[in-house]
Amino acid sequence: MSARVDVRKTYKLYIGGKFPRSESGRSYEVLAAPTGRRATPRFLANAAMGSRKDARDAVVAARKAQPGWAGATAYNRGQVLYRVAEVMEGRRAQLVQDVRDSEGLTPARAEAVVSAAIDRWVWYAGWADKYAQVLGGLNPVAGPYFDISAPEPTGVVAVLAPQASSLLGLVSVVAPVVVSGNTCVVLASEDRPLPAIDLAECLATSDVPGGVVNVVTGRTAEVAPWLASHRDVNAIDLTGAADAAGVEWGDLELAAAENLKRVLRPGGSGPEAVEPDFDAVPDLSRLTAFLETKTVWHPKGR
């Protein structure tokens, strides 16, 4: 009995709820992380090599989706995001496989990472209808006014996903951006993009509207500057600048200054960028980094 020839998956971009190839027609080889047993890295797949135009299209999709996503009720966003965790659980096997291959983990460790990633998604999803109460509130102004401050999403966020932590790290940067009603363009880990596409498939098969999360795979150094300088991007998360080949996060921040993007700098101190430990318990800082505070006044009279 001959072994079955398996049906391989094509890893494409995820833009506006669809899975296009790169407009550039390019792709690049994704290799498994070296585990020490193999001399030559194992070929995993060809990933789409996203271009600046793909990034541009992704921004257009994100901008288009943003008002609707922000306008959904918080309860609804919470449920939609929770649903993503359900789908991730259902696709657990593939996530484990891709994380294991991408990061060179043991099966047990890969299981643990996927579990943590799903749990993290659930943790953030639960914030959807709570953060406004924690972060907003009534201001006791000295006058006959009702004065309230509430957080709002900043808009479209470009996210440089962590280079090393291909799923847990990815979830840890994407979920806090979208839970508040932002939409995003994620530049996946350059060398470990496959879990990002797996996550995109989870998003596509859950109820997350197309365009809320857009995933571009490719060379960070090639695409990131276009996102950093893009005038229709409101904020940028530079977490993935750590260990990205040919990327100086200061240059990206400089470009981001042109339209005063909100910039979440990479971890580390001084010019050095260090990828954070995503096993650590998160706080609200990644959520608040992409919020605006809106204060509304109204007189109180008869």
Binding site: G143, P144, Y145, P299, K300, G301, R302
Partner: protein, 358 residues
Amino acid sequence: MCHPGGPRVVRWCPRPTVTRPHRPPYTPGVSTSTEVDPTTRARDILGVSRLTNSALTGWLHGLPGVDQVGCEARAAALSTRSVKTSSKAWAIDTAISMIDLTTLEGADTPGKVRGLATRALVPDPSDPSTPSPAAVCVYGDMVPFAREVIGERDVRIAAVATAFPSGRASRAVKLADTRDAVQNGADEIDMVIDRGAFLAGDYLSVFREIAETKEACGDARLKVIMETGELVTYDNVRRASWLSMLAGGDFIKTSTGKISPAATLPVTLVMLEAVRDWRDATGEQVGVKPAGGIRTSKDAIKFLVTVNEVAGEDWLSNEWFRFGASSLLNDLLLQRQKMTTGAYSGADYVADDAPSGY
């Protein structure tokens, strides 16, 4: 424009009862006379074929709202105007000339009313250049005693009517009250509206009562007291102002003085906006009279500033603006003396025939 008159020599010489003032009433720059009947005129203004309560309701409720906080902030801002030296002197004399010097007590006697009237003629015996108040304001049955003193001189006699202050009586009684006061020689009638009817939404009834009272006034000018302290909201004050003007009131007046709050600056501000907008809409000028609670010169000047900056200088005379007050005159006289002598004055230097505290 009414600049307070020059020196006025007045001698106290009581006369026999005068039944009617035969001096023609004011000849305003803009006509307020309503030669057509008020209902026809109201139909024209509203653009309806029949004046119904629902037509009035639609019209009044279509007026722009008043935001309380913004309105009060504007009044407070106007209150910060600093009126000094020559402008203060002018303002004090103007304010004196705008007073309806008032006594409206159950305990009013002929003696008290005569004293009040005398005071109106000679507000400050030490300075004959002091202008007289515009009018004395008394109950209708007291008009003859005021007339005894004032005679034909240039101080008007105003009488409250229409079952003042509550307005709770039948229409017939209210109209009889009005005719009686006019008969007694009143130049001006201060009526009260039926606040109950207004608050119940029966605008047509309020309209008719004002219109009929106006008719009963004959040549006397009609001031319509809305009792804003009972209407409570500025939206109501605005609606009552427009309703009163529509029905033919010559003045709109805040209060009876029997209900607190009475004449606040923001209420007066809303009324000044109403008369300004009414003139824009119809070409007719209507006067404003805040009454009750205005006791100091400082307060009075704030009202004048508000008149000046909201309605405009066309209202800066006693033809178009009055203060209903009793003790205000004393303070204005004290301030006037201070400006004349340079020293602060005291109550002992102001002759008062009708001290309010008995």
